[in-house]
């Protein structure tokens, strides 16, 4: 890839694993590249789409299509604490809805949004894989299980004060 001419912002682009990729295996590596870009930036900036397009030779529109197809990819930055609320079956039948309601009340945002102070983002996920603890939420890497709506205030408070 080093031979490829990169006219724009080469300096400001952070290192993601793009230098491991050659034109030849470019197609199969697109998702991997996007994942590693998102790892470095927290989201996928528009500039990066053009950059990847330049390197691997896939039109930016196609890359955009791939990004919007998969729920993992974001085009905007996230809050400092990402709250994932499980909307899997086990959590649903164990009243996960009420936990969501409590979170929305407490944060004043809906799923997919970030608070104005940039502190919290609220996301829903299909199953966190600890269904025996349903209903479950995850704040960054920390899991909170067997929740009742009353507990939410305290959890959020803890992160506000960190």
């Amino acid at each position: 890839m080093n031979e490829v001419n990169l006219p724009f912002f080469q300096k400001e682009i952070k290192k993601f694993k793009i230098d491991l990729v050659t034109q030849k295996d470019s197609h199969g590596s697109l998702i991997y590249l996007l994942q590693s870009a998102q790892d470095s930036y927290g989201y996928i900036p528009e500039k990066v789409i053009h950059y990847i397009s330049e390197v691997v030779g896939i039109p930016a529109a196609d890359i955009y299509g791939v990004i919007t197809f998969y729920s993992q990819f974001r085009l905007r930055p996230l809050g400092k604490y990402v709250i994932k609320i499980c909307e899997g079956t086990a959590c649903h039948v164990n009243s996960g809805k009420n936990i969501l309601k409590a979170l929305q009340n407490e944060l004043g945002i809906s799923v997919g949004e970030t608070t104005n102070d940039g502190l919290f983002s609220l996301q829903s996920v299909a199953c966190l894989g600890c269904c025996s603890l349903a209903p479950v939420i995850m704040v960054n890497e920390e899991t909170y299980g067997s929740l009742i709506p009353k507990k939410i205030k305290g959890i959020i408070k803890k992160y506000r004060e960190l």
Binding site: G28, L30, G65, V66, Q72, V93, A126, C130, C131
Partner: protein
């Protein structure tokens, strides 16, 4: 010497397993104790996490619900003073939880889960690991391998239930200069975690299964497609692959034979439809995961257009056992058409929620009551949901049904990949159907019109039924749409998306009718159909509910029973949550 095992699957970690592990470690280091401390995968008893097992001379003491303080006490009393703490031990309790849970199970796929340290290839090897692949390389021709798998009767555990031996034969016979093996670890069913537990608890068994498949069909390259939401499983796999490479189990001339084999990991990026095999292949190729018409099947034209064999995690994990124990040992278990065992992720309103592996042919009642310990809080068993968004609900009245691909399909549900959600009388079946349809509707890739728009229309109908605005003819309309979607969708997603609605309509029609005719939700789940009332006997007049009510619909004097003005009430349920005396009732 004593050995301490801490279950650190995702379930154990979520319950605080890391803290327990670190406490044990620092205690052992500080006191310079001579014990082995190791982490294992999920034992299956997720409902008792964090689990700590102390093993000495083959005797096991299993401690349940351990926190760091309790962990310290285990060190002091059990490890140092040799006095096991009886009251925390699960397999010592009067009812013997552990025995009950494991008695009717038969562990083939989970043979090593919770027993070995998944990070250690040597522990896998001491449990007959990598013997099957060596036997295959030395003693069996590819055709003979395929014959064994075919005769064992193993069917794909990813949901479809296709005969694995037959699939391998197709891939073997297909012409292509290169062939691929793929392991489907996308596990999209929300509420299921079998594959994750196997990968976290015993990654080598899956790798070995894939190697054997590679030998059988003549492939030297393999991919594991795993969802990115499983970071722990990915880590374990990467580690396992590295260990294999170091020992020459992967690479060129594996195990000193003429065979080459390499395995790569591909992380999915969050799309349910990518569990479908052709969409999965598109995703590995870096494209949007959109299914395509079959035939040609992946066995003929798969990854990069080459013959490809794709199987589920659990399917591969069965393979080494079958090779070592013979096709008959496997086919002696189960029913006429469904052989071996099946792993289920038990969840929902069940006492022992966790991972259980049972022989095929066991009844649903046995799984729910004997293995799962029955329904939480002594409520009434209403139904099981099997197969996730592609499956359906089987009512409690059919609890004697056997776990068998074909019998389950006849009910309108499917065996699926092993998610088994237990429902009780507090589950609203209309709401549940809506939940699943909402899921598939979101995940439809949009290629087929009926799947894209038909599911949307069905969802709107369900929405209005749960809002109390359903019409009498809605049920027929739902059914007619459901069959049209099934008939005109290209892939399994659309073909099965209406199943949750169809099965609940079939077995719980009166619940739909109650929503439509009486404007009532019998399970008190659908908010719009609940009326909140304050019981004059129970109300102490503490005024908390009146303070919480966002629309001032509650009135009453201090220390006197309060009243809800039904015209004002927006049914948010805050008063219900707030009351400490259970005085707010749903009717």
């Amino acid at each position: 010497m004593k050995e301490i095992r801490v279950g650190l699957g995702t379930c154990g970690v979520s319950a605080g397993g890391i803290q327990v592990f670190n406490t044990l470690k620092s205690e052992i280091d500080a006191k310079k104790l001579k014990v082995v401390l190791k982490e294992t995968g999920c034992m299956g008893m997720c409902y008792e996490e964090v689990l700590v097992e102390v093993v000495e001379n083959g005797t096991s003491f299993l401690y349940a619900k351990i926190n760091p303080e309790k962990a310290k006490k285990i060190i002091d009393q059990h490890i140092i003073d040799d006095r096991p703490i009886e009251e925390w031990i699960v397999n010592n309790r009067a009812c013997s939880e552990k025995e009950e849970f494991f008695k009717k199970q038969k562990r083939i796929v989970l043979r090593n889960c919770g027993v070995i340290d998944p990070g250690s290839i040597d522990e896998y090897i001491t449990r007959d690991g990598y013997k099957a692949i060596q036997k295959v390389l030395k003693e069996l021709s590819p055709e003979e391998i395929i014959d064994i798998i075919y005769q064992s009767g193993l069917r794909g555990r990813g949901g479809g239930g296709f005969l694995t031996g037959l699939k391998w034969r197709f891939a073997r016979n297909a012409k292509g200069e290169k062939k691929y093996i793929i392991c489907n670890a996308d596990e999209g069913d929300p509420g299921a975690f079998m594959d994750r537990s196997v990968l976290e608890g015993d990654p080598h068994s899956v790798l070995e299964g894939m190697m054997i498949a590679g030998r059988a069909i003549g492939a030297d390259e393999a991919y594991i497609y795993i969802r990115a939401e499983y970071p722990k499983a990915i880590l374990r796999l990467e580690n396992a692959i590295k260990q294999c490479a170091e020992r020459g189990y992967l690479g060129t001339g594996i195990f000193g034979s003429d065979a080459n084999f390499k395995i790569k990991i591909k992380e999915g990026a969050g799309a349910f439809v990518c569990g479908e095999e052709t969409a999965l292949i598109a995703s590995i190729e870096g494209k949007r995961g959109i299914p395509r018409i079959r035939p040609p099947f992946p066995a003929q034209k798969g990854l990069w257009g080459m013959p490809t064999n794709i199987n589920n995690v659990e399917t591969y994990a069965n393979i080494p056992w079958i090779i070592l124990n013979g096709a008959e040992s496997f086919s002696s278990m189960g029913t006429e058409q469904s052989k071996g065992t099946k792993v289920f992720a038990l969840a929902g309103k069940i006492v022992r929620s966790g991972l259980a592996e049972v022989p095929m042919g066991m009844t649903i009642n046995e799984v729910v009551f004997d293995v799962g310990g029955g329904i939480k809080d002594d409520r009434k068993f209403k139904a099981v949901q099997m197969g996730g968004p592609s499956g359906g609900c089987i009512p409690a009245s059919m609890g004697d049904l056997k776990i068998d691909y074909d019998e389950i399909t006849q009910t309108g549900a499917i065996m699926g990949s092993g998610g088994l959600i237990v429902l009780d009388e507090t589950t609203c079946m209309v709401d549940l159907a809506k939940f699943f349809l909402n899921f598939t509707q979101n995940e439809s890739c949009g290629k087929c019109t009926f799947c894209r728009i038909g599911t949307k229309r069905m969802l709107e109908i369900l929405d209005r039924i749960t809002m109390g605005e359903g019409k009498e003819e809605d049920l027929d309309l739902l059914e007619s749409l459901a069959y049209k979607i099934k008939d005109s969708s290209l892939c399994g997603l659309g073909q099965t998306a209406p199943n949750p609605v169809l099965t609940t309509l079939k077995y719980f029609r009166e619940e739909y009718e109650a929503h439509i005719r009486d404007k009532k939700c019998p399970a008190h789940i659908c908010p719009a159909l609940i009326t909140y009332k304050i019981s004059a006997e129970k109300c102490t007049g503490c005024t908390l509910c009146a303070k919480k009510c966002p629309v001032q619909a509650i009135s009453g004097e201090v220390k006197k029973p309060h009243l809800i003005n039904q015209n004002e009430c927006i049914k948010c349920g805050l008063c219900y949550d707030a009351c400490s005396f259970g005085a707010v009732e749903k009717i």
